[in-house]
């Protein structure tokens, strides 16, 4: 089912969030609401209100085709981290 996701960063910590169907913000991509032509206006209005109230910032919308994210960018964002392995923070024995 094609539709629209509304996503943003939470102002106080920058964490990526998505607007859920109940118009709360979720940190989990799979709980994001997918809005259609009927529901998207109300969702936008709610999201904009949260931006005005300084809860989120940098709101934008993503077109989706069903549940699959269409771009690499959105997949990486949903994964909350890079697609490569970070260097290990190990404690080597000190000579």
């Amino acid at each position: 089912m094609p539709g629209i996701l509304i996503t943003a960063n939470r102002l106080e910590d920058g964490v990526v969030v998505w607007l859920a169907t109940d118009f709360t913000w979720t940190e989990t991509r799979s709980r994001a609401g997918i809005f259609d032509a009927d529901t998207v206006q109300t969702a936008r209005h709610s999201a904009a209100g949260d931006q005005t109230n300084n809860f989120v910032t940098a709101i934008y919308e993503v077109m989706v085709d069903g549940k699959a994210d269409v771009s690499a960018r959105e997949a990486i964002r949903a994964n909350r981290g890079p697609t490569i392995q970070a260097p290990p923070d190990r404690h080597p024995s000190i000579r």
């Binding site: 771009s71 690499a72 960018r73 890079p82 697609t83 490569i84 080597p92």
Partner: protein
């Protein structure tokens, strides 16, 4: 290196408190996002793909072991345990919380560090030669002038809201190791026939969407007039820069549009009114700064038996490291050690907290407790006694950072790309690893020799792909990550912008494309001819034909 005094420390404390107040005003809504954004950028805080990103200033790439340990602790306490070394010789952290940033700035202030001028439309962290003050091919120590410029540009009231970011680099070596030709202002310390030292001033260089090599504004600027001349250039830019068009906003476009002659006239008109005025640096202040960079007295080093002994039986890896990563020092008993933060299976430029701590330990034990970040995203420990190089090599081996890759094909400059960046079109870090895997044989990398392969994830060119022998640019082709290849760019004295070869490749085909280009070079090169020189001799078209012949 420059040591903070009570004035510098008091400044950082107040600055940090000021930002705490600004964050509170943003959270309460007193400041809008539009108004807050330049204020947070003035403190190094971006909003990136995953969260806020904090870029900490390492002035001209120089820091102490204590400071590096402090950065490691910040990585561990406020982020995910690692940081990323940038091409402006800074470090950045990727998952920072706005509400914790004032605490981080306090922590940095305790280390005599900050995040000022690492982002936003201001004069950015001045960059320089990572071997400054530790090499004998320099006219004089450029770090003195970097520090002068750093202080002058700090809280400059006129230039806090420039049309766009503004980058200055200073070099003093016979070899330009600071890419001065690709900066808004490039300063090269030169000695006139009279023996007087001054600056050759270049303007209007830069990469990004419209790469340009800087042009000479004046062949010789007396040192005493540096600050008034910089003010004049900046004022002309601040007034006339194209604020109406983000693609035309950098100094390079203004210089090109006006022509270097007219730009020079405009600068001189401003300069005439402020030359030799209160704007100039007082001599006593210059001398105060200069004293911080006086050469340390190095204990005499024994040059003979131990080194030879150390070589014996340590094998190929140590010889490679000695050959590529041990750089000359002004004292023949000493060396500057380049640590390659590039190795198979690790993202170029990323280093973990424990790796930073180990590097700090090695700098304390075998160097003078000083560390340099390089614009090619590596680390240098200056002033290491030659007879202790083997111990440094072994110490680095414990953390897997004893690769001898400096200047070779694995030593790629790579931007964070789509894995981290809001602006990127394509990933760069996984591609770098793919290419490295393709050249996994160290013997092959040695045979190829000196070559610069750089990767940018978008046209903003943070990965310096324009200035690379082989430049790779990530593009978005109908929603799929693709990569353009260019050839023939160089930084340094004879700076040049690379030329795009042709249609782009998907990520799977890039390593083969690179291999085809390199293969042609290996086949056609003359003895001792570097890749860059071969491209100049043979011409880019020869490589282009080879690359697309198979396709």
């Amino acid at each position: 290196m420059y040591k903070y005094d009570t004035i510098d420390r008091d400044f950082l404390d107040r600055r940090s408190a000021q930002f705490r107040d600004q964050v509170a005003r943003r959270l309460s809504g007193e400041l809008s996002e539009d108004e807050f954004k330049p204020l947070r950028l003035q403190n190094g805080l971006y909003l990136q793909l995953h969260a806020y990103m904090l870029r900490v200033a390492i002035p001209y790439g120089v820091l102490s072991s204590r400071q590096l340990r402090g950065l490691a602790s910040i990585a561990r306490d406020f982020d995910r345990g690692f940081g990323h070394f940038t091409t402006r010789q800074n470090i950045q952290f990727n998952w920072i919380k706005l509400v914790e940033t004032p605490d981080i700035l306090d922590r940095l202030a305790e280390l005599d560090m900050h995040a000022i001028q690492t982002s936003g439309n201001c004069i950015r962290n001045v960059t320089s030669d990572p071997l400054a003050g530790a090499t004998d091919d320099e006219v004089e120590n450029p770090m003195v002038w970097c520090e002068v410029i750093r202080q002058w540009s700090t809280l400059h009231p006129e230039f806090a809201f420039l049309p766009r970011k503004f980058k200055i680099a200073v070099s003093a070596g016979a070899e330009d190791r600071a890419a001065t030709g690709f900066h808004d202002i490039g300063l090269r310390l030169v000695k006139a026939r009279s023996g007087e030292v001054g600056f050759r001033v270049l303007v209007g260089g830069g990469q990004g969407r419209t790469p340009r090599v800087a042009q000479q504004l004046t062949p010789f600027l007396p040192k005493k007039n540096l600050l008034s001349y910089l003010e004049a250039i900046l004022r002309v830019y601040n007034v006339a820069g194209r604020r109406d068009n983000i693609y035309k906003v950098r100094l390079k476009i203004l210089v090109e549009a006006m022509g270097i002659e007219a730009f020079s006239d405009a600068v001189n008109m401003e300069w005439v009114g402020i030359r030799d005025s209160v704007v100039e640096l007082p001599l006593e202040e210059f001398e105060r700064i200069q004293r911080h960079f006086a050469r340390d007295t190095l204990p005499p080093a024994d040059l003979t038996s131990e080194i030879l002994e150390a070589y014996c039986g340590k094998g190929h890896a140590f010889e490679r490291w000695m050959r590529h990563n041990v750089l000359p020092h002004y004292d023949p008993g000493y060396a500057n050690v380049c640590i390659s933060i590039k190795a198979l299976g690790r993202p170029p430029g990323d280093a973990s907290a424990s790796e930073m701590e180990r590097i700090a330990d090695l700098a304390d034990r075998y160097g003078m407790g000083e560390i340099r970040f390089t614009y090619s995203q590596n680390v240098v420990i200056p002033h290491v006694r030659r007879d202790q190089l083997i111990r440094v090599f072994e110490g680095l081996g414990d953390i897997g950072l004893n690769g001898g890759e400096n200047g070779l094909i694995g030593d790629m400059i790579v931007c964070p790309g789509l894995d981290y960046c809001n602006l990127a079109n394509a990933r760069s870090l996984p591609l770098a690893d793919r290419i490295f895997q393709h050249f996994a044989d160290a013997g092959l990398r040695d045979e190829i020799g000196k070559i610069r392969l750089n990767i940018s994830g978008c046209i903003n060119a943070c990965g310096h792909h324009h200035a690379a022998d082989i430049g790779i640019l990530g593009v978005n082709k109908k929603g799929v990550e693709n990569y353009q290849i260019s050839l023939g760019g160089r930084a340094g004295e004879d700076a040049a912008v690379g030329r795009i070869l042709g249609p782009s490749f998907d990520e799977h085909r890039v390593p083969d494309a690179v291999a085809a280009i390199v293969g042609l070079y290996l086949h056609r090169r003359k003895p001792d001819e570097t890749f860059g020189d071969a491209v100049v001799r043979l011409g880019v078209d020869v490589f282009k034909r080879e690359l697309y012949a198979a396709a």
